[in-house]
């Protein structure tokens, strides 16, 4: 009896140790089977890394505002594992990495996400409004890898193209929404970090958005021997024609929209307002706005004649997270100046979120229903 009791206690201890007897769960952004990082229901996260030879290990969030600050010092255990529980984070997706004696190191437990012009770790913190960007039991569109040879750069490029449910069996032509990522990211961001395909699936199923094609391309392009970004030229000369000859699209101004986040918002504001023969809907999420925006002179005078602008443009729309001070003020000032000049500009604020992907998921979720009406 005595031996059995001891054995039971030892087993019980080792089980509770292995099973982490609390209400934290592995992050949904982890690789298959990885138990760390873990997330508590209140938004705290547990990070862990085995680095027995390291002197100092920290967790660094790409956007500290979203993760409650940092970098966070981790504590070393006798087993060589460094751990830390971080403060309550804002819900949504956060880039992060370890600093191991000052070196940026990806978390082997996390999937990688392209940001900061490198593949980096990321953590999904669940929140109360996640249903809109998660897969639901509704018809699903498909995201296709569309390869095309750029005449501008001479290089093969890849666009990610969302085709709405029903595209395969329909003969209809669809409107097209061109949607760009931010600086340091790529054509994968809007689906992998942003869940744009699920957001559209859910909106279309609820009849809150019309079925549309969403084209997500890479906002970087260089010619051989140059480092200048010629994305605008590639976009107009390669991407648009390639999409319009490959897919069943309504290839006219009234059925083209362009938007982007951060750098992609700036690119949208550089391209669309001076190509109003091509675009009727324009969106700039957390970018493309300025505290010194002057409708009379901005974008080579594209906004100077409000009546002419309003005649062509069905929607000009900006957004920002309330926690991204700079972009919020920029968008607020810019849309106010536009409205004062007689150009109706929409403005949406994502409450509590910073310059990160949950802000842009929400922006897409608000913007897409306004398109092609």
């Amino acid at each position: 009896m005595r031996v059995q009791t001891v054995a039971f206690l030892v087993l019980g201890l080792s089980l509770s140790f292995a099973q982490a007897p609390d209400d934290s769960k592995p992050a949904s952004s982890n690789v298959r089977g990885s138990q760390y990082p873990r997330v508590y229901p209140d938004g705290r996260a547990v990070f862990r890394l085995k680095a027995p030879n390291a002197q100092k290990v920290q967790v660094q969030a790409g956007t500290p505002d979203g993760m409650g600050g940092g970098p966070f010092d981790m504590q070393k255990g006798a087993d060589g594992f460094w751990t830390v529980v971080t403060p309550k984070a804002v819900s949504g997706f956060h880039y992060y990495w370890f600093l191991v004696d000052g070196l940026n190191v990806n978390d082997p437990g996390s999937d990688t996400f392209f940001g900061y012009t490198r593949q980096t770790s990321g953590i999904e913190i669940p929140g109360p409004d996640d249903a809109f960007h998660m897969p639901q039991a509704v018809p699903h569109g498909q995201v296709r890898q569309h390869w095309y040879l750029s005449k501008v750069t001479g290089a093969w490029r890849r666009a990610m193209v969302y085709l709405p449910p029903g595209y395969d069996t329909s003969k209809a032509k669809y409107p097209v929404f061109y949607l760009q990522h931010g600086a340091g990211e790529d054509e994968i961001g809007w689906t992998k970090q942003g869940h744009a395909n699920f957001i559209l699936d859910n909106l279309i199923a609820a009849k809150k958005a019309v079925p549309m094609i969403v084209v997500m391309d890479c906002g970087y392009a260089t010619k051989v021997g140059s480092t200048a970004n010629v994305f605008a030229e590639v976009f107009l000369s390669d991407i648009l024609p390639s999409v319009e000859t490959t897919f069943r699209v309504r290839a006219d101004q009234a059925h083209r929209a362009m938007a982007g986040l951060s750098m992609g918002g700036s690119q949208t504001m550089q391209i669309a307002p001076v190509n109003l023969d091509k675009f009727a809907y324009i969106g700039a999420f957390s970018g493309g706005a300025s505290r010194t925006f002057d409708p009379k002179t901005a974008n080579n005078g594209a906004f100077a004649d409000a009546a002419a602008f309003n005649k062509k443009v069905k929607l000009l729309w900006m957004s920002a997270g309330s926690a991204e001070t700079n972009q919020y003020e920029n968008a607020k000032v810019t849309t106010a100046a536009l409205n004062q000049a007689g150009i109706k500009a929409g403005f949406y604020v994502s409450e509590g979120t910073a310059h990160e992907w949950h802000t842009w998921r929400r922006a897409l979720h608000e913007f897409a229903p306004l398109l092609f009406r």
Copy 2:
């Protein structure tokens, strides 16, 4: 004159320094704009990492045979950069990582590739036979992300599905080739590391393969509360029905093929030979074979009746790289035993390559032309 000459010399020196005055080039597997790692025409590579606080830094290849050995010690420069030139590598794709004071660290200059159940760095070493797996000026199929809810696991899963050129505009039904990755990898491997889409594009354009759909799914699946891999059940109960209700397929035995690499080869040999009502073509690349294979008893007797087997199966085919001793011997012994038992089994050897992706690119390039003839 004198001042100008000096300025010219200084400028010349700094330019030559920045441009790495040799014939190495950034690896095609690098992230956008990254200058390192670099590859020489003879297959040597230069790796570089800034880690000023590290005591020891090495480069470790996932498959040392492919990279000429290792781990390779790197040398620290006064600028905090560690560098090494590695020996001539076998051409193709190689997983690798840095060992920084013993810690596995991804190279920020490399894209990441899912292997070893984590995201890891990889380097593409060009070779003389690369044209077959690179994008060419031929019609391109599209790889789609196909999401479906698994009834077996209750989880949303994603298959990568290659649709051949012409699928959108044709009304034809297509044969389907189910193609599985190896252990520690996922549904992305066959396109990202394997370039399966370009291999098929090129074969179809040359009329060396018939237009077909290629389904690449994840070879791992677990039910809630269990760690057992129930892929076979998911494959037959979820994947096949989902593909056959979503795409225009010829849903009969004569138009289904299954193959896989390494673990995927084992899964193919476990599933297909005991489901000959469903599959007419079976391929096992660097896996699924054994030195003790006995046709009389293997796979619950699926090979015991050679005449019955031959009546149903149009192709049984195995392959291995000549540099992967174990898998090569396994496939050689297994196909010899099958042939001796009266079952015609094909055997292809990729010359000089190890247990890595270039072996499997070549296997796919040899196998696909044999399908659906």
